[in-house]
């Protein structure tokens, strides 16, 4: 009879652990930077030959490992000297562009994944036929696959079907996002007990009635984590896709650009890096909000 959903202070415990995890990571970074050798530790190096040998411990000098506070401070210094706005401004605008594209990719991925999952659940033959390909699809490297989508898009665009470059990025992002959704929907729709299915049969309920009244609500606990995973995947996919097809304006491109100037301005590439971490968190957090509205579907029936 005790309610399963705990309220009050314990709700904030996961947040506390999350903060502690981030602090621990930053602490480890600074600790290594303090203790580690400035030029790293290399074995088997040939004298006078740069880049030879095996580096066992990475360099800790300011160029390789800027201080955490330098990275943060760099965000508020001007982007490229003069009176250019502070770095955080272009990071945010580029981040928002990428976030928008990732959202479009997420939406495409969710729709495609949900349809695939539902089809596989409905027809066992479809599951046998499709599931192996869906798994294999995720082993194709995104970088190999991105230019194909891009050139297909360009082709379509030339044939009179408007295909902006961002759409290619969204499609590539959706390629990563659909996978967890397809699997989550398949497992979720298959999750109701035999007894519940018997009950629906005794009501002479057809496929669609059973889908909406029983299978979908029962699938919510499987689908929510899948959606969250898909959101994080869509962000990663969008960032990588921007780089591989050379789209301008997004955070992926910015990352590459600033990394190129890393030797003279080592803290700068960490700006867009932190930006893309923030994107992933925002994306996953937004999806978690959807889950908050569906918490009645996550109740367990008390065992007798």
């Amino acid at each position: 009879m005790t309610p399963r959903h705990t309220q009050g202070p314990s709700r904030f415990r996961p947040i506390g652990w999350g903060v502690l995890g981030v602090v621990a990571l930053l602490g480890a970074w600074e600790l290594y930077k303090f203790l580690g050798p400035a030029q790293g530790f290399v074995v088997g190096a040939t004298a006078g030959e740069t880049g030879s040998g095996v580096m066992l411990l990475p360099r800790t000098n300011d160029r390789a490992m800027p201080h955490v506070w330098d990275m943060v401070a760099r965000l508020f210094q001007s982007t490229s000297g003069g009176d250019t706005p502070p770095l955080i401004v272009p990071v945010i605008t580029a981040g928002l562009l990428t976030l928008g594209i990732a959202a479009a990719g997420w939406l495409i991925g969710v729709i495609v994944g949900a349809v695939l999952g539902a089809v596989m659940q409905r027809w066992r033959l479809a599951e046998w036929g499709l599931l192996p390909w869906i798994v294999v699809s995720q082993t194709v490297p995104l970088i190999a696959f991105a230019p194909i989508i891009s050139s297909l898009g360009t082709q379509l665009d030339r044939d009179g079907f408007p295909w902006p470059q961002w759409l290619s990025v969204a499609v590539i992002a959706s390629y990563l996002a659909f996978f967890p959704v397809a699997i989550g929907v398949l497992r979720g729709l298959d999750s109701p007990d035999r007894m519940h299915l018997d009950l629906m049969r005794s009501y002479a309920a057809g496929y669609w009635a059973t889908l909406f009244r029983l299978r979908l609500p029962a699938a919510v606990p499987h689908i929510l984590p899948a959606l969250r995973l898909a959101a994080a995947s869509a962000v990663v996919g969008a960032v990588v896709a921007e780089v591989s097809i050379g789209m301008r304006g997004g955070i992926g491109r910015m990352l590459i650009q600033l990394a190129g100037q890393g030797s003279s301005d080592p803290a700068a590439p960490w700006g867009p890096t932190l930006g893309s971490v923030a994107l992933g968190l925002v994306a996953a957090g937004t999806v978690a909000l959807i889950g908050a509205g569906l918490k009645n579907y996550r109740r367990g029936e008390a065992t007798v």
Partner: protein
């Protein structure tokens, strides 16, 4: 012969399940009639096919051979016409729906208008004594309460036949006896016939007009015992000699030989 006054008429019904090791005969040669408004229990050791027989009546599985009619119709037609309500050993409530929402599920599926539905749900909640719990969720109820919701849900479409598969099997003895008395009251009030699967001899005798004794390998009916205990089933009945006598009769039928009187209860 078709007879619409018979809730269930089974004639030569058998069921075989094909397995890799060959066919398993779950039921063979079942001859059974259940009158409208009659309370019939199916009892027997596990593997005797009592649940299988219930599933055949409910058209959750198809009979391999024989004739099975529910109110003079084939079982599939009776299921589609919602001639029966069913309850299982687990309450099987949808955890994301409130008590009211669970009771309303069959009504919703069959397109009953919202206001009519609300009235019917109120009636049913009152029938099973859960008026105050209509907005609670299943995880906030005890096992006995969950089972009462399941009974209300089974009665939602006013079926003339109620099928129950060990509905009180997972409950403690106190709750069990209380719900048995409630069930006889509800069955009396609604006038529905009941086919009740159980493995408890006292439960079968207390509830039923007739107790169908079954035996395994292959599953079949070995005896049918009429209890003749009358319409009033209350706590006094549990103490009466007539009740003990029937309990013994069912036990002897189950064991296939007279048992020592000292074993009683």
């Amino acid at each position: 012969m078709t007879n619409e006054n018979l809730a269930v008429r089974a004639s030569g019904v058998s069921k075989t399940f094909p397995t890799k090791a060959g066919d398993v005969v779950a039921l063979t040669g079942v001859e059974l009639t259940v009158e409208a408004g009659e309370f019939v229990s199916l009892i027997g050791p596990s593997g005797c096919g009592k649940s299988t027989l219930l599933r055949l009546i409910a058209d959750l599985d198809g009979a391999t051979s024989g004739e099975l009619e529910i109110f003079g119709k084939p079982a599939a037609k009776a299921r589609i016409d919602q001639d029966y309500g069913i309850a299982f050993q687990q309450a099987g409530l949808l955890p994301w729906r409130t008590v009211g929402g669970n009771i309303a599920l069959p009504l919703e599926l069959h397109g009953m208008a919202k206001t009519a539905r609300a009235t019917r749900v109120t009636e049913l909640a009152e029938l099973v004594g859960l008026t105050d719990f209509i907005d609670r969720y299943p995880d906030q109820l005890s096992g006995g309460m969950q089972q009462r919701v399941a009974i209300a849900r089974a009665l939602a479409e006013q079926p003339r036949l109620l099928l129950m598969d060990e509905p009180f099997g997972a409950l403690d003895e106190m709750t069990r006896e209380y719900l048995q008395a409630e069930l006889t009251r509800i069955a009396g009030e609604t006038g529905a016939a009941v086919v009740f699967v159980t493995h408890s001899i006292p439960e079968a005798v207390f509830l039923s007009d007739r107790v169908v004794v079954m035996s395994p390998r292959p599953g079949r009916i070995t005896d049918i015992i009429t209890t003749s205990l009358g319409d009033v089933r209350d706590e006094a009945l549990r103490e009466s000699p007539a009740y003990f006598e029937r309990v013994t009769a069912v036990r002897e039928a189950l064991h296939g030989a007279p048992v020592e009187r000292a074993n009683e209860r």
